[in-house]
């Protein structure tokens, strides 16, 4: 492994403890109402992290809703949602989660969920930078 040009990279010994990065970097995956994307996106502009947004379909504990078409019932069991993925410094994660909660909540069933998980490494493809500096 060549010496990285990224100053933050020194924290990680890539030949040895490969999972060490998980302590420093978190992935925040938020599945939110589609109409809340603009508000969350806007709030994130202040906080700084990049994001990847995906249109997704899914079901929560209610397993969708029943509807009627031409007099017969059918189950809308996969409802459309928006998924936001962000990889952030661990110390920023709590603040970002709080901001998502403030902007994406309506209080009704179907507001979605947030998942937080450790991230081993981040690589910027253009430069080959690795670690926190590549976020």
């Amino acid at each position: 492994m060549a010496e990285s040009i990224c100053p933050h990279h020194v924290r990680v010994d890539w030949e040895g403890k490969k999972r060490l990065g998980g302590e420093y970097m978190k992935r925040i995956t938020a599945i939110i109402r589609r109409e809340k994307l603009d508000a969350v996106k806007h709030a994130m502009r202040e906080l700084g992290p990049g994001m990847t947004v995906t249109d997704v379909k899914g079901q929560g504990r209610q397993k969708g809703i029943m509807e009627v078409y031409r007099g017969s019932e059918y189950c809308l069991d996969l409802l459309p949602k928006t998924q936001i993925d962000m990889v952030v410094k661990a110390e920023d994660a709590e603040r970002i989660v709080r901001t998502i909660l403030e902007t994406a909540t309506t209080g009704n069933i179907g507001d979605g969920k947030i998942f937080i998980s450790p991230v081993d490494d981040v690589i910027r493809i253009r430069t080959g930078d690795r670690g926190i500096g590549a976020i």
């Binding site: 509807e67 009627v68 078409y69 031409r70 007099g71 017969s72 019932e73 059918y74």
Partner: protein, 513 residues
């Protein structure tokens, strides 16, 4: 048609000479012929447009000739324009049927809707037109051609029964401008009937089987019944033969076009069986449509085209009844739509189902198609209201009780409401129009206006349509099933018909959904 020598021989500024011909309506035309006068009202200049030996001073016979020519010309233009409107209904059908089905069958459903145009028209040209209209004694509003005079007739009970025409195959011996107008106007009607079953049988009909059907509909299935009603055949003769009103009357095709298409669709959908996933353990499962905008746009295009379908069926722009026909058409369609919406929303379900707004609009249109020229506006609204309830009840009955899977509601709309339309004519025709219809004396008058025999004729005609259409469809579809198979394989159906059958997806070239 008309001698036009006056256009060629007359000059623009002919000197006035009232002594030229004693029969010249001099006073009326002298001022009009002077082109130097300003035309402040837009109505002054005219006589110069009458073909005459001396421009601006037509003789009485030249004037009569011009009037006759203009009358026929108005009828030509009207009927052709109406035919072009009806042709546009092909686009409406394509959108309605594709919108109400799933995105994995888009290329297949659209493919059927465009190809039926070609298959139907060619079959009609080669054979269908001759079978349907080869025995038409004359074309009174379209120039008076009398060459289509070969109706094959049998004598039963001492009366002639016209069975089918036998003149004009590939338009041979019918190279007449009026016949060509009739050909165009009628071929788009046939195509309307032909494209109805593609909705009822959508999402599982093998494309090759559909193509073979497409050849039969224009050549044989449609023209035979059409001859009996519009070509001078035996149903139209019920009045002259047996004194049943004016014979069987179907003004623009509630049965000839719509019940025909709906019945073919019903038999076809029944023989195909339901789509996979429609009935699970005996329980009905709704299969939601993939594009409501498409279905709504298609329905509105159909309603627009119907202003050609019904008013155009006078075959005469000079028949002033066209205003009544157009207004009745509009009233019945909106009554059907509003009633179907309310019935679904308040009686049969708990939401205003957009698919039944579309079905209701078309149900009102289909129902008024037969009686539109013969009923008053109140009856038109009532006919539409009944059609609106009927289309919901029929669709749910077919879906839940008969368990015949009709993805777009074509059987309820065209089959059931088509039958209702021609029966309603026998009830509500008010005797203000249709004098001498089908050669019988008197105007077309229904049961509620004192002529029960007209209603009897309507019952016979509607029953004949259902029995004939179901029987010939069953025979032909059985034949097609034996030869190539009616239905696609189950894996093809689950994957969607687009790629396996057509080689391309509807939207993104492949398995997008």
């Amino acid at each position: 048609m008309m001698a036009k020598s006056g256009y060629l021989t007359g000059t623009a500024q002919q000197p006035t000479n009232s002594a030229l011909n004693a029969s010249t309506p001099v006073a009326a035309t002298q001022a009009l012929s002077d082109r130097s006068q300003p035309d402040a009202t837009g109505s002054s200049i005219g006589a110069a447009g009458v073909p005459a030996n001396v421009t601006g001073q037509p003789t009485l016979s030249e004037l009569a000739s011009a009037v006759g020519h203009n009358t026929t010309a108005i009828n030509f233009v009207w009927t052709l324009m109406a035919g072009f409107l009806v042709f546009f209904m092909q686009a409406g059908f394509a959108l309605v049927e594709t919108g109400f089905t799933r995105s994995k069958n888009v290329a297949h459903t659209m493919g059927m809707n465009i190809l039926i145009y070609g298959l139907g028209v060619l079959g009609w040209y080669v054979c269908g037109f001759a079978l349907m209209f080869g025995g038409l004694p004359s074309l009174p509003t379209l120039g008076g051609f009398t060459g289509l005079n070969s109706e094959v007739t049998v004598n039963l009970l001492g009366h002639p029964f016209g069975l089918f025409g036998a003149h004009g195959f590939a338009l041979g011996g019918a190279y007449d401008v009026g016949v060509f107008v009739l050909f165009l106007f009628q071929v788009v009607f046939m195509d309307t009937a032909a494209t109805i079953p593609t909705g009822a049988m959508a999402e599982r009909w093998k494309f090759l089987a559909f193509c073979i059907y497409g050849l039969f509909i224009g050549t044989i299935i449609y023209p035979l019944f059409g001859n009996w009603v519009w070509g001078g055949g035996w149903l139209s003769q019920l009045g002259t033969n047996f004194g049943l009103g004016n014979g069987y009357v179907d003004f623009a095709g509630s049965t000839v076009v719509h019940m025909m298409g709906g019945t073919i669709g019903f038999v076809g959908a029944w023989m195909l069986g339901p789509r996979i996933g429609k009935y699970v353990n005996g329980k009905v499962r709704a299969i939601p449509p993939h594009s409501i905008p498409m279905a709504v746009l298609g329905s509105l295009i159909l309603a627009f085209g119907w202003f050609g379908f019904n008013p155009g069926s006078t075959l005469a722009g000079t028949d002033l009844r066209i205003s009544v026909v157009a207004v009745n058409t509009m009233l019945s369609s909106v009554a059907g739509m509003v009633m179907a919406t309310l019935w679904m929303w308040r009686v049969r379900s708990n939401k205003p189902d957009v698919s039944f707004m579309c079905n209701g609009l078309l149900a009102g249109l289909v129902a008024i198609t037969g009686p539109c020229a013969f009923v008053n506006s109140q009856s038109a609204v009532l006919i539409g209201v009944v059609a609106g309830i009927l289309v919901v009840e029929a669709a749910l009955f077919i879906d839940k009780r008969l368990k015949v899977d009709d993805p777009v509601g074509a059987v309820a709309v065209h089959g059931v409401c088509g039958a209702w339309g021609c029966l309603s004519l026998g009830l509500f025709a008010d005797g203000t129009y249709g004098a001498g219809w089908n050669g019988a004396s008197g105007a077309v008058t229904g049961l509620l206006y004192g002529n029960p025999s007209q209603f009897a004729a309507q019952c016979i005609g509607v029953a004949t349509c259902g029995v004939y259409a179901a029987a010939i469809t069953f025979v032909i579809f059985t034949f097609i099933d034996k030869v190539v198979g009616l239905r696609v394989g189950s894996q093809t159906e689950v994957d969607g018909l687009d790629v396996p059958e057509m080689g391309v997806g509807g939207y993104d070239g492949g398995y997008g959904l």
